[in-house]
């Protein structure tokens, strides 16, 4: 059933909140429409959604400083604006402008929170404008428990900006997909994901990680111990601002892939595009990407294993942009060429290297470089043999 929140407005009644009244009255599966005829202010505890609902307003109508559409204001810096709690599932929020109270505090724009025994599933956010929250813009807060994770969340065509925390924070959530979403000018990371499965497609992360007290790895996109990490055709700009100066950091992620992304900053020092770090990180595949004025295109730290690095494009003159790889490389393959407008900085073919010959999963014809023996080795007839070199 379609519900218009204005049918729940008790005009002239102090403390009346037609949106929460409609949320309470709705049955699972209903649609709630919030017309953009006036701005709305959330109750002090925020709006609670605990059932399957579609909640929507009028399109974000910004035009050269004029703000229109359905505008939802946060009353204070302490409370979440929307709180989605079990047994809610199949919740769909779209076409809303969420305006935070600014400053710092615990108040999140949208907080989706499971419990140890009750998971949340299918949270769909579309065309939301989330701005100026004292904490995160959007927070998926799952629990590391068999029945406590958030399962299936998607954020499409949203803009999250000017929040005091990360734009989006994801914890213990599976199958989270973001597409066409912009994360801009947030004091924390644009997106930070921990112990989750996250894929970003065509997202735009710009000038995040601005707060002075951030850790060295609090990049514009920070994925920490994620079981799935996919970054596809995204754009990272302005990450030279703030203290971190990193676009993408993959910490301890196994099975990660970054491809066809564009990294651009203003000329400066200390900027890094893609960082793979953390003991046990990898495999991570870094396919072709483009960089402009980035000091370190890719850094893979010792401890990361089995990474693939394909050629990259650096849209600037020689001398700006390096690729830093570990040695021994512990399973690396690829070719870290850097293509530039004036030519190619050719590299060789990366052969997996380690301090000792590999011992498991061996097949005839394999190549490995033994850094202790300083010898290229070929696996032939059941043993590792040195490849003969011209003396």
């Amino acid at each position: 059933m379609l519900i218009n929140v204005w049918d729940y407005a008790k005009f002239g009644t102090p403390g009346d909140d037609p949106i929460q009244a409609a949320l309470d009255a709705a049955l699972p599966g209903d649609r709630i429409y919030i017309p953009g005829v006036v701005p709305y202010t959330a109750p002090s505890a925020g709006w609670l959604i605990d059932k399957s609902l579609e909640v929507y307003g009028d399109l974000d109508g910004s035009l050269s400083g004029t703000i229109k559409g359905t505008i939802l204001n946060q009353p204070n810096s302490a409370s979440p604006h929307f709180k989605v709690l079990p047994p809610a599932g199949n919740v769909h929020l779209h076409d809303l402008r969420l305006h935070g109270a600014g400053g710092t505090g615990a108040g999140v724009g949208i907080l989706c929170q499971s419990t140890t025994s009750a998971h949340l599933e299918e949270i769909r956010l579309r065309r939301l404008f989330v701005q100026g929250f004292p904490s995160y813009g959007i927070r998926f807060d799952g629990v590391h428990a068999l029945n406590g994770r958030i399962i299936g969340a998607s954020v499409f065509d949203c803009l999250v900006r000017d929040c005091s925390g990360a734009g989006i924070s994801i914890l213990n959530a599976d199958s989270v997909m973001l597409a066409g979403t912009s994360l801009r000018d947030n004091q924390g990371s644009g997106l930070t994901g921990t112990a989750s499965g996250i894929a970003l497609y065509q997202c735009d992360l710009e000038s995040n990680s601005r707060a002075a007290g951030l850790g060295a790895l609090d990049a514009n996109l920070k994925l920490d111990n994620c079981e799935m990490a996919r970054v596809d055709a995204c754009r990272f700009t302005g990450f030279q601002l703030g203290p971190v100066k990193k676009a993408v950091v993959l910490i301890g992620c196994g099975g990660a892939m970054v491809d066809a992304c564009d990294f651009e900053v203003e000329p400066g020092t200390g900027t890094e595009g893609i960082v793979v770090t953390g003991s046990g990180a990898g495999p991570a595949a870094i396919l072709s990407n483009r960089f402009k004025e980035v000091n370190v295109l890719i850094r893979i730290d010792p401890g990361a294993r089995d990474c693939v690095v394909f050629p990259q494009y650096a849209d600037n003159a020689a001398g700006i942009g390096t690729i830093v790889l570990p040695y021994p490389n512990e399973g690396m393959y690829g070719a870290p060429h850097i293509v530039r407008p004036g030519g190619v900085e050719m590299s060789g073919l990366l052969v997996p290297s380690s301090a000792a010959d590999p011992t498991t999963g061996l097949r005839q014809g394999m190549l490995s470089y033994n850094t202790t023996l300083q010898s290229l080795r070929a696996y032939v007839n059941g043993t590792w043999n040195p490849v003969a070199l011209d003396p």
Partner: protein, 389 residues
Amino acid sequence: MLINAMDYASLNAAIAAAEPGDRIYVPGVRPWPSGNVLTKSVEIFGDGPGTPGALDGTTFIADNADVFTISSHLGAIGSIHLRDFKIKQSGTLSGGTGIKCVTPGHSVDSLRLERISALGVKSDAFVIDAAGQFVRNLEMTSCLAVSNERLGLLLRNVRLARLVNSFFNSNGHGGVYAENSGVAIYVGGMEQNSKGALASQGQIEVRNCPLARLDACHFELFAQAVNTNRDIACDIADGGGAIVLGGCYFALDNSTHGTAIRIQAGTKGPVTVLCNRHTRVTTLVEVAANTAVGALLPQFDDGADGTSAGVKGDYLLPSPPGGMVGCTSVRRVGVPGPDQLVLRGLLVPSGTTPPTTNVQDGMLFFETDQSPPALLVRVAGAWRRVLTA
């Protein structure tokens, strides 16, 4: 607020009355004219595109003017959402584009096109030409551009353009032309484009794009151009950027020519070609000499149609292949005789002199300028020749 366009004398009058953020419903009770101009954030939606040849659904008639012109000349536009209608040629009048977005002076932050069919327009179907200020985000989902006289989609200076499940068939000048844009196409289809005598594009042409991504796309019957030089499914040209293609399907009928992926001379790359499937395609991947470096992975070639001699597709690479890495094996099935695995070795980067940057011990490199040429391995900081005799 929801506005019904029938309450106004015209759609333009409804747009003029709308506040930014409003939705305008265009019922499919009669055909709607072209010449609609959008300068503010609104959503316009109809009853759906209906049947291709009919006037059912919500149908706009393409005549002498563009059906929709989106222009930011009055100020930056936050969000425009057009969905659920059809654009159809008038039959007699020549004219304008289906949907055109231009950005003189101000930017467009978000433009979403959903479930829009553009059929038989006498010009380009969709044009997003951000020659002035940028278009930040374009999303095009479940749209169709069929039998339009020029291009299915032109993109220029769009920061991020995402096409999902959109199809471009039988457009005279080509399916998609993307220039200086960040474009990603997921699960798209392109078929029988570039057939016109004035065809200037392949099924898709990616030119000087900072990022380009084609994922799980379907290309069919792309060898029917008047100019056989345009018998190309995916044409990559100019500049440098990150281009990744994978999981795509390229199919031809009984044509004797056709190139699935062409990387033109002068393209710096890098280009990564992941695994794809091809049916009766002559050239699976063509890389011009002295051009892009990149990574190439094995391809699957479903060569024969059961009645003809079959087409054995293959890589076409320069020799030496320069900075290419990977493995260019081709698995062929359906060719006369048993299935073939055209097994190739590991592609080792090659050049006239050994690399001096981005190197570490254990790397391999093939030096072409020696007599005889030599495979080198880097050991203890120096390049050493591998003995092959």
